[in-house]
Subunit: 152 residues, 2 copies
């Protein structure tokens, strides 16, 4: 095969379909999350925190969100400044930082109850299709993780 | 329905599946694109440009890539600095900027012929499944576009 045989188009690429779908969804969340004072990645972090609001380490939260601490820390600092969580370094092991959701952060959860319904309206696709796509994406990510783990 | 009924989990969200799949794929491209001197969004831009290398406007390129010019312009400036394209403002209509791929940019296309094969190895999923996911994502994006167009 020579270079001349290379002819993938933008439209033929799964990576571009993912990139553009992910951006379209983040954009659709924008106006829905604005009244809550959250960006899309901040909303994902709050979703994760609402499941374990009492004390999760930044490291464990990063695993749930698949974000490294370099990306996660500034995001958490902004959520702390907004009063939705506290960050506290472990007195024993200084490398560990515990995140706790504040009362304001828990109150936000109640305000967010209709985000789900609103975004499903934006997708304009039936729930069964959305569920199938979600499962396929999760399985692709899981297989990529496995592949990566076996080669490093 | 009260706030207490709100209980979507991070794992239950299509938006998170998309977000994490998109990030996982961009990360998988990193080491594959590094020898070419391209980041993942720059690679997408070059894919689009290789299809119409002679003279595309920034505006039309933005439509193909679904990027606004605020995001696209810095990316194109970096590709220009790397010698892969030229940016030239239209003498007649100063708002239009034409992009042309240079010889070095076209040579890069030949170097990129195996990117496709390498990334498919990373997905670790059969091509049929990948194609089906791609089509579903494209159809979700198209329907979101339509919905957005009809409400604005």
């Amino acid at each position: 095969m020579t270079g001349k045989d290379f002819s993938p188009t933008l439209a033929s690429q799964l990576c571009f379909a993912l990139y553009s779908a992910s951006r379209a969804v983040a954009r659709a969340y924008g106006p829905i999350l604005e009244p809550l004072g959250l960006t899309f990645p901040q909303y994902l972090a709050m979703l994760a925190l609402w499941e374990v609001p009492d004390a999760v380490t930044v490291s464990d939260l990063g695993k749930s969100l698949r974000l490294d601490s370099g990306t996660l820390t500034p995001l958490l600092k902004r959520l702390e400044a907004a009063g939705f969580l506290t960050r506290e370094r472990d007195a024993v092991d200084q490398r560990r930082v515990f995140i706790r959701v504040t009362d304001a952060g828990m109150a936000l959860r109640a305000e967010a109850w209709n985000v789900q319904d609103m975004i499903i309206g934006c997708y304009a696709t039936d729930l069964e299709t959305l569920g199938a796509v979600k499962q396929q994406l999760q399985s692709i990510v899981a297989m990529m993780d496995e592949r990566q783990a076996s080669t490093t």
